[in-house]
């Protein structure tokens, strides 16, 4: 045994001398992987945003040549700088795919989850560091495959991000590449979600019971379950669609299908609806994958900057659990108009109304947390505060869509686009910005500039609403989504067509409003104000580690003595009482492990 001990020791020594590649590229450290995820995710967000800018130009000025870069994109896409409908469809499908699967989720889950979650539970790393690395590189490969799909013959996927068959089955080869890319992304999220759940269950430090977990950890924990259980059905569906395309099977192809006047030669007997069921079985929980990490970030930032405990922490936790459970049985509210029948519609309409309850509980708890707080209006807090009404608009406009009768009018109109973009863009993405400003000091040891932060926030808030508010008006007027000309060819769209220009100019304004962020992000690496381990005077365990935390995170294994948000506890020397500090009250019960009731009465 002694001999064996020596060999393992020498292996560990060898392990510590990591070169550049192992430290920054093929790293197994959760913080490096988190930053890799975040930077890659932000890059894809930018790329997806650029696709949207091209689309918005086409919608506001249909048929007019695109200025400056129009001719660079080639004759197969924009001959003479004028966009082809096929290219518009590619942009639409890939904008959705990239924003959801390559931008927001990797940043929210892969980035923030990887970086913050192990720190918040006092762990030295994720439970499976090498799986973690595999998860990032699988995501990266998926991203590369998706990006390259623009350059295959016929261009990228153009059947929408939902890839409904039969259209997607008879589409050009870009769709096959899309499916392969999805397989990589699903593998990545599977590896990641297993890792997250095991980490939370197994690596919590002593004293950190489930009801003492920061809400951010809860949100990531529940998100991981959604990813774990909802993605595999899409993987199955992706295999089936791949078979339909490559092996000429008919999983989703009905018999007697006629395309462009010609009978499609398939054995038939398949069901296009089957794809929709499998797709939305993933994609509705996916909506909560987009939202829950954002709620987690907002909860952290709000508790910290109101200097108050979260109002109704436990009801928020139970709501999040209930929300996750319900999210698996609402999927067919995306399919009210498929002819699946009124009984099915009634069922899914009921579950959809029920799922709005826990969301409202969480938002209400966050709103009430503001009550009576001495609020610090710093940049992360501004983004977190803006999240609440923006997400509120997104959520409330969803109710008419969840009612089968109202959905008949609103289905597939710009109203739907406005609804889910309010949830994800000024909702989730604002929360992600809040998270970046909030945890940047932890990752780099420097704060981002407050002035540039506010210069980023206010125009972004204005332009976000400039883009998405008019969509409700257009949608109510009956303008369909996915129209390549923005509705010019429809008489009923005429009165609201001018809004296309408002939205397009707002989109360009939003692009310019991101400049202060980009400058701030890079400039603060060198010029930002240097900070210690706890610049926000926060209470959760990640603020015990040095900024930036070294490999292994903590000098000594931390202990959690109390609930996560003990701000402004009466009788304390300062207005925050960190989870990781032993009791420092002069008078009062000496037991440090006392449950949360004690400080309130002290």
């Amino acid at each position: 045994m002694g001999e064996n001990h020596e060999t393992t020791h020498s292996e560990e020594h060898h392990h510590q001398e990591l070169g550049f590649w192992r430290t920054y590229v093929f790293s197994v450290d959760h913080k490096v992987i988190g930053i890799q995820y975040a930077v890659t995710g932000l890059s894809f967000l930018f790329f997806g945003f650029c696709l949207m800018l091209l689309m918005r130009w086409q919608l506001a000025y249909p048929g007019e040549p695109f200025p400056l870069i129009g001719k660079l994109l080639g004759d197969s896409r924009m001959p003479g700088g004028i966009m082809l409908p096929e290219f518009y469809n590619q942009l639409g499908a890939m904008h959705g795919t990239i924003m959801v699967f390559l931008g927001v989720v990797p940043l929210a889950v892969g980035g923030f989850g990887n970086f913050v979650l192990p720190l918040q539970i006092g762990a030295p790393d994720m439970a499976f560091p090498r799986l973690n690395m595999a998860s990032y590189w699988s995501y990266f490969l998926g991203g590369v495959v998706m990006f390259l799909s623009f350059f295959v013959p016929g261009g990228a996927a153009q059947s929408g991000w939902t890839s409904y068959p039969p259209l997607s089955v008879i589409a050009e080869s870009g769709q096959t590449v899309w499916l392969l890319g999805m397989v990589f992304l699903i593998t990545s999220s599977l590896l990641g979600s297993v890792n997250f759940i095991v980490t939370v269950i197994q690596l919590r430090v002593e004293g950190l019971t489930f009801m003492r977990l920061p809400f951010f950890v809860w949100s990531q924990f529940v998100t991981a379950f959604l990813l774990l259980l909802a993605f595999p059905p899409l993987e199955a569906a992706a295999f089936m669609q791949l078979m339909d395309r490559v092996a000429n099977t008919s999983f989703f192809m009905p018999a007697g299908l006629v395309v462009s006047g010609q009978l499609v030669e398939v054995s038939g007997g398949g069901s296009p609806l089957l794809w929709q069921h499998l797709f939305w079985f993933l994609a509705h929980p996916e909506v909560y994958v987009l939202i829950l990490p954002a709620l987690g970030i907002v909860a952290e930032v709000i508790a910290n900057n109101t200097r108050k405990p979260l109002w109704g922490y436990k009801s928020m936790v139970y709501s999040v659990l209930f929300l996750a459970f319900m999210s698996f049985i609402v999927w067919a509210h995306h399919m009210f108009l498929t002819g699946m029948g009124t009984v099915m519609s009634a069922f899914f309409q009921t579950t959809t109304m029920i799922i709005s309850i826990p969301s409202v509980v969480i938002i209400t708890a966050l709103l009430l947390s503001l009550w009576g707080g001495s609020i610090r209006f710093n940049t992360p807090m501004l983004f977190a505060l803006a999240f609440l009404p923006m997400f509120g608009i997104g959520g409330l406009t969803g109710l008419p869509l969840g009612l089968a009768a109202a959905d008949i009018h609103l289905h597939d109109t710009y109203y739907v686009i406005g609804h889910f973009h309010y949830v994800v863009a000024p909702g989730t993405i604002f929360a992600l910005f809040a998270g970046i400003y909030y945890w940047y000091p932890k990752a780099t040891g420097r704060k981002m500039s407050e002035f540039l932060g506010k210069l980023h926030f206010w125009p972004s808030l204005l332009f976000m609403n400039g883009i998405f508010l008019p969509m409700f008006i257009q949608g109510l007027a009956g303008v369909q989504r996915r129209l390549f000309d923005g509705g010019v060819s429809y008489a009923h769209a005429e009165p609201v067509l001018f809004l296309n220009k408002v939205m397009t100019h707002s989109a360009w304004g939003l692009a310019i409003a991101q400049l202060p962020f980009v400058i701030n992000f890079f400039l603060s690496l060198k010029r930002g104000e240097k900070v210690g381990s706890n610049p926000w005077q926060a209470t959760t365990i990640e603020w015990l580690a040095p900024s930036p935390p070294p490999h292994g995170n903590f000098a000594n294994v931390p202990v959690a003595y109390r609930t996560p948000y003990e701000y402004s506890v009466p009788g304390q020397a300062s207005d925050y009482h960190p989870q990781f500090e032993p009791d420092r009250r002069v008078a009062g019960p000496p037991d440090p492990g006392e449950p949360e009731a004690a400080p309130a009465t002290a």
């Binding site: 030295p124 439970a127 197994q202 059905p233 007997g269």
Partner: protein
């Protein structure tokens, strides 16, 4: 030593699990959803079909029965190999794990014979929806079999060196591989009646 990740080998007292086992159970939960979705697809396609063939009129039931027996036996030898490690009997472990890998090879050979017989009769995935779901389900299961075989072969061969340096961790690895293997076996137990008999 704050860099070492806790509970990779030993059990966390309040959860009663080590990381590897919990991770494997979670992975299997996602696998249940993967195959569950395909089975759900099978049901939906079959219910919507007017002339769904009886499985035994197209597929070779005796061969599949033989394969079922082979797979179940391999699950037994897998358990025996793990049990041998618990009783510190490495030679027996080698024997049983070797048998497991061999049985998997037998399974794959039989599966190949079945597939090529179908192709000889010009029965392809594109021929009918029944054959499409048959080929998709069995091929996906086959990929899992190959993956399991690779892991088992590694644990039988080069991976077994770990028995000397970290016997407890090695035993955990074999147990985790065993969990996966039993799952692959279980999927077949569902596949066999659904595709061949019903």
């Amino acid at each position: 030593m704050s860099e070492a990740i806790p509970y990779t080998v030993d059990i966390r007292p309040d959860t009663g699990l080590n990381n590897v086992k919990l991770g494997m159970w979670l992975f299997l939960a996602s696998e249940v959803m993967l195959f569950g979705a395909l089975f759900a697809g099978y049901i939906l396609l079959r219910v919507g079909s007017e002339d769904w063939p009886a499985g035994n009129s197209i597929l070779n039931v005796p061969l599949a029965t033989l394969n079922t027996i082979v797979l179940i036996t391999s699950s037994v030898t897998m358990v025996m190999s793990w049990a041998s490690l618990l009783r510190k009997s490495f030679d027996k472990y080698r024997l049983y794990m070797g048998a497991t890998v061999l049985l998997v090879v037998v399974f794959l050979v039989i599966k190949t014979i079945e597939y090529s017989a179908k192709f000889d009769h010009h029965l392809y995935p594109s021929t009918s929806t029944f054959l499409a779901i048959y080929f998709t389900l069995t091929a996906l299961h086959g990929l899992h079999v190959i993956g399991g075989m690779a892991v088992n072969a590694y644990l039988w061969g080069p991976g077994a060196k770990m028995w000397r340096s970290a016997p407890e961790q090695f035993t955990n690895r074999v147990e985790a591989a065993g969990l996966f293997w039993h799952f692959v076996d279980l999927v077949w137990i569902f596949l066999f009646p659904v595709l061949y008999l019903l």
